[in-house]
Amino acid sequence: MEVSARFRDQRLAKRLAEKIRELEPEEPTKFCHVCGTHEWTISHYGIRSLLPENVEVIAGPGCPVCITPASLVDGAVELALDGVVVATYGDMFRTPGTRSSLCQARAEGADVRIVYSITDAVRMAREERRRDFVFFAIGFETTAPSTAVEVLRKPPGNLSFLVAHRLIPPAMELLADMEDLAIRGFIAPGHVSTIIGAQPYAVFPERYGMPVVVAGFEPLDVLMAIYMLLKQLKEGVARLENEYTRAVRWEGNVRAKEFMRRAFDVVDGAWRGIGLIPNSALELKKAFREHDAIERYGLDVRSTPGCDVPPGCRCHEIMVGKAYPMDCPLFLKACRPDRPVGPCMVSIEGTCRIWALEGGWLRGV
């Protein structure tokens, strides 16, 4: 049997939910995850309905498509309309910038291609040497190593990269610093952690006295993480624990981290709806400047000030867990999965889209 299936065992899940209810805290307790796939698991399996009344799990900025600044989307749209072939992952295709999306650019005749992997974009660029290609490289630490591999493999001269990779731990620190959010513990993202390891989260128990559990994506993984967080709170200690031991090692994927280190510098980065987060972005090293789309085409991708979301949209509050999708006046009215207004309704990892399709609100928040 495929290993992950064991982590969907209904009998164990029921027992675990009972154990969780035995640990009901005395005061309202809020945990935060920072991964769209965790939100999907929580919503799809109705995990919130299994928790004690006063335990809340909120979604942080765990959707890479959602947090990609509108100015970068605008840059990609501009290139596409200028005749450059823009290749990117599926969800980025429909994400609105300030004026339009890559999808709209394609409707206007631009050549925009959805790829499953960066490797597909490299192959296309090799096959069509006379055309200029830009790969719009978005994603967190899970995705950044694949970009690094292709950058270091000597990509064809007609291919450049619009790099929008962001790093998760600095965003978690921002959330930990938000006193009004009052998070009592983090469910750390399992797939980001397969690359960076558990070690980068040590700062949370050490500096913030905040428990962290690295968790996988099956329902038992998430339930176990919540149980482990509640247990730490009950014991009055804050530790970094790893529930996802079948995939996450303390040091992570050392080879992948080395690829990232050789291809990128860590710089301050803008997050859509959030603003500038120190040391949270990756930029191509100067040695690869000829493959940097921003340099090659002189793109102005400075973020516009403000919350960087469409008027009326509350994605900027939803992305940091300060509002739930139903707090937004547009949710399931003007903004729907088939015609999204805000970035959180576009991506399969956006909280609004997940709630719209999976009913994340079950057990009335």
Partner: protein
């Protein structure tokens, strides 16, 4: 985006491997991991990003069964 799907490695050839996603066979890049046929890997955007430790998975499930008295 950070969705990574487990797949069983069927065949490794240099930096590429044929993997089986529960019936769907695809080629993925294995530059970032050391794998051999039969092992499970997590695949994200066409790259295997980590090898799944099956023995560890079995052990943890057994430990949980004990903890939960199930």
């Amino acid at each position: 985006m950070c969705l990574a799907v487990p797949a069983r490695v069927l065949e490794v050839r240099g930096s590429r491997a044929k993997v089986d996603f529960g019936g769907t066979v695809r080629e993925v890049d294995v530059t970032l991991v050391d794998v051999r046929p039969g092992q499970y890997v997590l695949v994200h955007a066409g790259f295997a990003i980590q090898v799944l430790d099956e023995r560890e998975a079995e052990e943890i499930i057994r430990a949980w069964e004990e903890l939960l008295g199930a």
